[in-house]
Amino acid sequence: MMSKLISVILVILGATLIVTAMLRLVPGDPVDHILGEQAPFDAREKMAKKLGLVGDDGKELNYAQQYVRFVREISTNELRSYRTDEPVLTMIAQRLPYTGMMALLAMFFALTIGPALGVLAAWRRASIFDSLFMFGVMLGVSVPRFFLGPLLLLVFSIYYPIFPISGATDGIMSMILPAITLGMAMAAVQARLVRSSIIEVMGEDYIRSARAKGLSETRVYFKHALRNALLPVVTVVGLELGGLLAGSIVVEKIFNWPGIGLLLLESIQRLDMPVVQGVVMTIAFTYVVINLITDLAYEWIDPRLKK
């Protein structure tokens, strides 16, 4: 437990270091971007000071100074967007619930429909349903989100207007298509994982014992096999959640969903470095926390891992 916490701290520390370095590596001068290249020298200098690119003496800050400044400002919520002058953490806090809700719904979708289909396919192995299932899974994994999103919009919002088209103004209805787009690949991976995991488990000795005890096939299947087959699902959830956060950038753009992905996109285009730094930090932080939770959940499901 202790070692895990230390590694979490190290990862977050590493993320802040990398994020500060980004500021220097990205081409383009934010001052040019805000004031335009026609701006006179004194205005440029003042702007550079305001943005924290140079110190009060007019000299460019070195890496260590920038790092200290970044950590100080972000911890007191004084780090402000170049573009709108709002505090970065406030901007993120306003948008994070949107991304969080969408990711949760996508995960809910992936963790119910995916495994359920996997269980059915394993149960009726080598049937027509199974082959159809395998085909569907391949499709689900390989169809890119930037294609699936507009396709779903076209079908379920224009041709059959069941769902609203974009934005977040229609409550849960406006969340369903984005969540499906986001969770599709994960659902497919989960389905396949559960299917092969069950098939593997069904050959184990304890299943034979259960059958020998005279238990019904359904009971053997759902009680003994399934529970043991779910372990890999939990492992993959932790890894996939990172994928969900990254994928949310594309999905949020397509569905005009006001989350942190859209914020990141706009900020990158406008060279709004503090916001980019803040969002990247947030994503790194979420990733670390989710992995921690996965580890804990893993131990809970399989007590042998505690040692």
């Binding site: 040019d32 026609q38 809700m101 507009p150 977040a168 006001p258």
Partner: protein, 503 residues
């Protein structure tokens, strides 16, 4: 799981309530492609921000369809001498808080702009202003440091702000709310607007970044209106819904060009090479195939129908054979492998521009020039341009409304380096051009100015620092229920003040 779902539902209901929403039938729903950095005219610099800011803050003049300034809040202008002019304000103009707009507010607007603590990106434009003083309640006297003809166009972009109440606006629409999270702006009409209160009850301006989603929203009817955000291919899709959507096209101002680096002894430093490269391009073919006719050919940077446009500019004829002969004579014969020299054409990641650049490169390869296309994001391309680190690039300039912009782009004093800004990225040096540009900037006689710019454009076509390509049409797509919107050539939304919705 059930609990999680209930929580989710509650959360989403919470979101639902927190977002103000205009009644959809009463409001005109406008979609734009990027988020305005500010609505304050002092800080609005992107096109989208300037277009929205113009609705909230009215300026003294605005650009008419002949691309000349026409009075808005100003009623009359008197040129006292080349350095001094006086502007008489209308007497029926009011801020959104109901107080009258007076000469003091105009003075306040321009003096705070020049203050370096404000850090406005527009401050430099008004560096020529020596003094702005109110001579009566409705009269303002402007004094310049030196004769500077472009000042009236610069005055067009600058909305007037109140000296007493910094939050009130002066334009035909009033800001109701600006939700930064959902990037939604709500406007309502200004009842005291001097032309009469605008008929629209609400305007909702929403940022939708994805181009496909914008089209789907228009088709579905969630959005009513978009201006200048569509590529020709997207317009072709819109054309399939004539019962729902109308398309308005007007000759646009966005100027597509290829710029060359003239530094050192590279092939493009040779005029004959540049001419050959221009002759190798089948621009009419590109306009037909890629733009579906939604663009006009450019003969130079000043757009067609502009007052300063030269009428006797000759377009390059598509002549690949002639181009090859020119290159042979210029000392670049085909080598054994069939190529003459290599050139890299850089462009930005915009998909449509990429596809155009691929066509240009293919046409250059046909005359034996080994042309490659390189895609670079704007930030790093811009850095490279400033350092002269490119061979040729294809891009689009902001509209030339005030032809003095040519000074920024072609004057030898405007070659950028690490310490100095400038638009002359290819390091084009021509004494005659320098002289004419400076002369035209200080000339206040309209006709003399026009003749100077005609000569400048002719000279630019002869010396060819850029290959002029096209002007893309300004396209407005509207739902059928939107009536009385007259599109503007500048892409401005100001025409919305007369727009109505069919009941």
């Amino acid at each position: 799981m059930l609990r999680a779902l209930t929580l989710l539902l509650l959360l989403s209901l919470g979101c639902h309530n927190s977002i103000p929403k205009a009644n959809s039938r009463d409001a005109l729903h406008v979609v734009v492609s990027s988020s305005p950095e500010s609505l304050d005219p002092r800080f609005a610099s992107s096109a989208v921000a300037a277009n929205i800011s113009e609705l909230l803050y009215a300026s003294l003049f605005r650009i008419g369809d002949d691309l000349l300034p026409e009075p808005l809040l100003a009623e009359e202008i008197t040129q006292i001498n080349p350095l001094t002019f006086s502007i008489h304000l209308r007497s029926d103009i009011y801020f959104h808080d109901g107080s009258p707009i007076t000469a003091n507010d105009v003075v306040h607007t321009f003096t705070t702009l020049g203050n370096t603590d404000v850090l406005s990106p527009h401050a430099e434009k008004f560096a020529y202003l020596k003094e702005v003083i109110a001579t009566s309640e409705h009269d303002v006297k402007f004094t310049l440091r030196e004769p500077y003809a472009p000042i009236f166009v610069d005055l067009c972009g600058m909305g007037i702000m109140s000296a007493k109440n910094p939050t009130t606006g002066s334009g035909p629409f009033v800001l109701e709310s600006f939700n930064r999270v959902t990037d939604t702006i709500l406007l309502k009409p200004h009842l005291l607007w001097f032309e009469g209160a605008p008929p629209l009850k609400h305007i909702e301006i929403r940022v939708v970044k994805d181009g496909t989603t914008r089209i789907l929203e228009l088709i579905k009817g969630k959005a009513d209106f978009t201006s200048g955000e569509l590529s020709p291919i997207q317009v072709r899709i819109i054309e399939k819904y004539p019962e729902k959507l109308t398309i308005r096209r007007s000759p646009g101002l966005g100027y597509g060009y290829i710029a060359f680096n003239l530094r050192d002894n590279r092939p493009t430093a040779d005029l004959h090479v540049r001419q050959a490269l221009a002759m190798a391009l089948d621009i009419d073919g590109v306009l037909k195939a890629k733009f579906h006719g939604m663009a006009t050919r450019a003969s130079g940077m000043i757009p067609p129908y502009h007052w300063a446009k030269s009428k006797n500019l000759e377009l390059f004829k598509y002549d690949p054979r002639g181009a090859e002969r020119l290159l042979d004579a210029a000392g670049y014969p085909r080598k054994k492998n069939g190529t003459r020299f290599t050139i890299t054409l850089t462009t930005t990641p915009d998909r449509f521009r990429q596809s155009l650049s691929l066509v240009y490169a293919a046409q250059w390869r046909a005359i034996g020039v080994d042309a490659q296309v390189r895609i670079q994001d704007w930030g790093s391309l811009y850095q490279d341009m400033k350092q002269g680190n490119f061979e040729a690039f294809s891009a689009v300039w902001i509209p030339v409304i005030e032809p003095n912009l040519l000074t920024w782009i072609f004057h030898s004093d405007k070659i950028p380096d690490l310490n100095k800004g400038g638009g002359n990225r290819g390091a084009y040096i021509d004494k005659i051009i320098d002289e004419m540009l400076m002369h035209a900037r200080g000339e206040i006689d309209f006709d003399k100015r026009r003749i100077l710019y005609e000569r400048i454009e002719n000279r630019l076509l002869e010396t060819l620092p850029y290959i002029p390509l096209w002007f893309m049409d300004e396209i407005v797509v509207m739902n059928r229920r939107v009536i009385d919107f007259i599109p503007s050539r500048t892409g401005s939304l100001f025409g919305l003040r007369h727009t109505r919705l069919q009941p």
